[in-house]
Amino acid sequence: MTTPSKEALAKIAPVLTKRWLSPDAWKLSVYERLDGYTGLKKALKAHPDDLIQLIKDSGLRGRGGAGFPTGMKWGFIPQNDGKPHYLVVNADEGEPGTCQDLPLMMADPHSLIEGVIIASYAIRANFAAIYIRGEAIHAARRLRQAVDDARARGYLGRNILGSGFDLDVVVHSGAGAYICGEETALLDSLEGYRGQPRLRPPFPATHGLYNSPTVVNNVETIATVPYIVLGGSAWFRTMGTEKSPGTKIFSVSGRVVQPGQYECGLGVTLRQLIELCGGMKPGHNLRFWTPGGSSTPLLTDEHLDAPLDFEGMMGVGTMLGTAAVQIFSDQDCPVYATYRWIEFYHHESCGKCTPCREGNYWMKGILRRILSGQGTHADLDTLLDACDNLLGRSFCALGDGATSPVTSSIKYFKQDYLDYIEGRKAPMFSPGELVGAH
């Protein structure tokens, strides 16, 4: 285990994670003792519009993957329209490699609830839902307990802390579908329908849950809000970069000594993250990595010093995504990793649109054939062309994401593909039954 450099240590900025190591931080009493609900008290004294302005000024960008400016999203909610407004927290956390929302909800559920109350107050919502992925029974249980405790203490319900503001929160468990993390599919699922993305426009800001104005935000996004309320936008901007202010929990997994959640200012580099993780596992050398889950194109050891923020990642042809950093070494096969990811997309495609449904079916078949030693050179062209016909053609971003591992792995690791095709590498699978063209 190597010790991190000074620069790396300087990037560590525990804001969201600051209570994680305190014993029983999930308990309301502990939370309150550690500054909990002080942001709320402050917020309830402010005018809702000022809160929206505060978030705009802070430059907070959505942590769910796309980095959309949160204050702007809140500002889209039409006010005085006579319709109910809703806040929906996206806790579906389905992106492969991503694991910051669940630990946050386990370790510090009240910070999310406090954020929910402030955000709801700002957008004038009296009902909020937290849509949590179905498998996360432990986190759902913890959240429900936290909601009950908060309600018992007057943080939820009618006339919260005497402010005249009412809010109820429901924790809704999904049924285990990646697509239900996509915000419009999430809304359909929340309404009790089959989770499939909705046609946009109209957007959730005007026609969201039950056809009413709705903000959908990621867990981390909302959990950040109380800190901004307490610390102010200027403080928030002291962390991260100009265009990507603040901190982000990076969930690092794979071939490092200490995988886990590392909260750093945006703009930290992979080199620094690996240092913070105690270095690569002995005997492993970095070969490829994802900056933000499998839907973000792979990077290699050439990109150790690229800043992990929204712009920095765009600059190297990928995306920050969910900041799920998955680290692979020279003992991992990029072709096999790609195959596994495409198996995931094939399984999780909702089926609504042709390119995603059929494209993933096809790519999975080709990849498996290549790994069985039965690939051809033409298959590589077909894969790239299938990606070309899928990227930007699918109904929602799930299909776009599926092309990322394929195109980027062929870009950086074509030789690995050729090794299977040309018989230099032993097949991963026994050759399946092949059928002629039809």
Binding site: I179, L199, R357, G365, L390, R393
Partner: protein, 822 residues
Amino acid sequence: MTEVAKKVDTVKLTIDGIEVEAAKGELVIRVAERIGIAIPRFCDHPLLDPAGACRQCLVDIEGQRKPSAACTQTVADGMVVRTQLTSEVAKKAQEGILEFLLINHPLDCPMCDKGGECPLQNQALSNGREESRFHEHKREYTKPVPISSQVLLDRERCVLCQRCTRFSDEIAGDKFIDLMERGADEQIGVFSGRLDVDPAEVVGETGLEGAIDANLLDAPFNSYFSGNTVQICPVGALTGAQYRFRARPFDLVSSPSTCEHCAAGCSMRTDHRRGKVMRRLAGDDPQVNEEWNCDKGRWAFQYATAFDRITEPMVRDPKSGELRKASWPEALNAAAEGLLKARTEGGVGVLTGGRLTVEDAYAYAKFARVVLGTNDIDFRSRPLSQEETDFLTSVAGKFQVTYSDIEAAPDVVLVGLEAEEECPILFLRLRKAANKRGTRVTSIAPFVTRGLEKVAGTLVPTVPGAEATALAESAEVRAALSKPGALLFVGERLAETPGGLSAAARLAAETGARLAWVPRRAGDRGAVEAGCLPTLLPGGRSLVEPAARGEIGAAWGLEVGDLSERPGRDTLQILDAARTGALKGLVVAGVDPHDLPDPAAAEEALEKVGFLVSLELRLSAVSRRADVVLPVAPAVEKSGSYLDWEGRVRPFDAVLRSAAMTDARVLDALARQLGYQLGTADTLAVLKQIGELGETRAPRAAAPTVDAERVAEPGTGEAVLSTWHQLIDLGALQDGDEYLAGTARPPVARISKATAAALGVADGEPLNVSTERGRVTLPAAVVDVMAPGVVWLPTNSPGSTVRRTLGVSSGATVRISAGGTS
């Protein structure tokens, strides 16, 4: 109707370099179509909400990072669109999607019903790759899955465009089919409670019936509109059992036609091959049925080729007393002689039934007056009243309401009409108006039906017989009808309530609402207009008006006084007179005594009448008793027209050539035999005659003013009967269509919770409904919202032939009890 010119915001855009103006909100795909640019598509359908699912319609729009779906993209000012014709990006995108669609699509076009008329096949031929790059396994499924007794699903062919599910949800309101599973396993399905078994496998082992018997489909696709999904499926994934594997599209001859079943007036397309109708499809008529029809219209047509079809005339042999085949001259001669004798000895009555074309009905009306010298003519073969006769006399010649008026109406009130069962396309339009325009529907009926639920309608709970009072006294109904543009729909069943039609006419007059009378059969409205009523001459001319008689007398070349001003007998009086011998003869067209309020009395009359001439398609209860039987042509073998409930003319040509003659032609020959010229031998000549009559100048009859009566108050163990026909039932025109019959709604006896509790009958348990005549026993269906003391039965469904078995109709007091016996 005054059209207020609406100011439409328009935008200018260019598509493939062509500048075009479009209304704001219009979809790019539609605008392109308008200027002759066809963008390929699968999921798009102009009558369904945009889905953007198949992605076949991708086009290149300047300033957009990625290609856009033309079927979901609305126009914008200054937009520059490039389709596959001018953009490589769009072309490549479309080719890519097509390739994706084909990788898992089977190559079974040579045996697929859709082959030859398949949008996917056409696309593949014109834009597909010559050679496949796909070397993997295609998705396989056991096939077919019966999703109803009529509709079969071959999942591997499905392109998951969701047209079928969207139609069922958006248009029909029957969400019986939906997407199941996800990703490449996504498929269409119906709810099956038995998740452990795959219905397709059971079909493989035991056939279709096996799967249905095994109750594998708890909720089969029994929508009255399911056939439309077969029609709009862009591949051969959905097929109708009736047509499956029977023909290739390129061997079929298609003819535009009109549906002969109900008064909705649907346009149809009839496809035949070598003299046999193979299938029928909904025709396009935006004014009437848009692009839809009901399953009865689509799938009930084999009656015309039933084994008992009459193709040659028959006369009753005086020696044996049996019917025997005869030549036309012999039969016409026998008929003429018998009618002549009957006419002089006491008179002849004419019953025409509700299935005639306008032209045929006109011939009967003229035959009765000119040849038989009588006004004893009536088209009604169902419960009726003098009040109804007067009401129809007053509405004849007045056409106040159209389908499109429904969409413009703020409020629609239905009384005596269950549109989904009795006029299904009217129901679809009501649903569209309710969903898209917020039209409010109020129904005066005993309970909330599925149909009313689907238009989010309001019930004014009304015991049968109390409709007149409801119309007169309900503040809700009056308020609804007082809104400008409001419509009052009156079903033919309102005739069963004394004072009902009078109250409807009065309320319409008082509120300014427009009134439409909706009969159940395709020929009903035409018969009214043609003069098949004891009080009416053609063209809505009231007999009692000398001017009206003058106009007709002149047109028909009669002497003054030849046309009697005395109204004739109605159907029930004619039958009565025939039974007692007051009338010596009857001429009867397609009438089934079982449709009449008292079938036994009708049969007795048919037995007893001195001389009976039957013009019929198939051997019926009438023709079996007739002295002379003259065969006539079914709709498919003749030309003519129906008037739909709007009064709109629905003309059609003969689809099949045959020797069979129209009723009008047979009557023409019969008249000639008796020394009269009807001039009705061919349809065009009849149309010309009708046209030459022109509009009448004679005063129109006023609406009746009959008072409401007190409603029967059922004692213990009694209930007031409510009954109407289900769309798919035992109707003679559905004979032989077993697959269709399998999709009928199961017959049940509906009772309220209170009644069920009082009888100790739970939902699904047998309930007896009886009169002195007989008993009907059906599973009880307990209804949430229902007027008190009512029991509802389907009029003519398996196990529930109300008129035949019980001899009563709506409003009658019947006995009810629990259990199958007692």
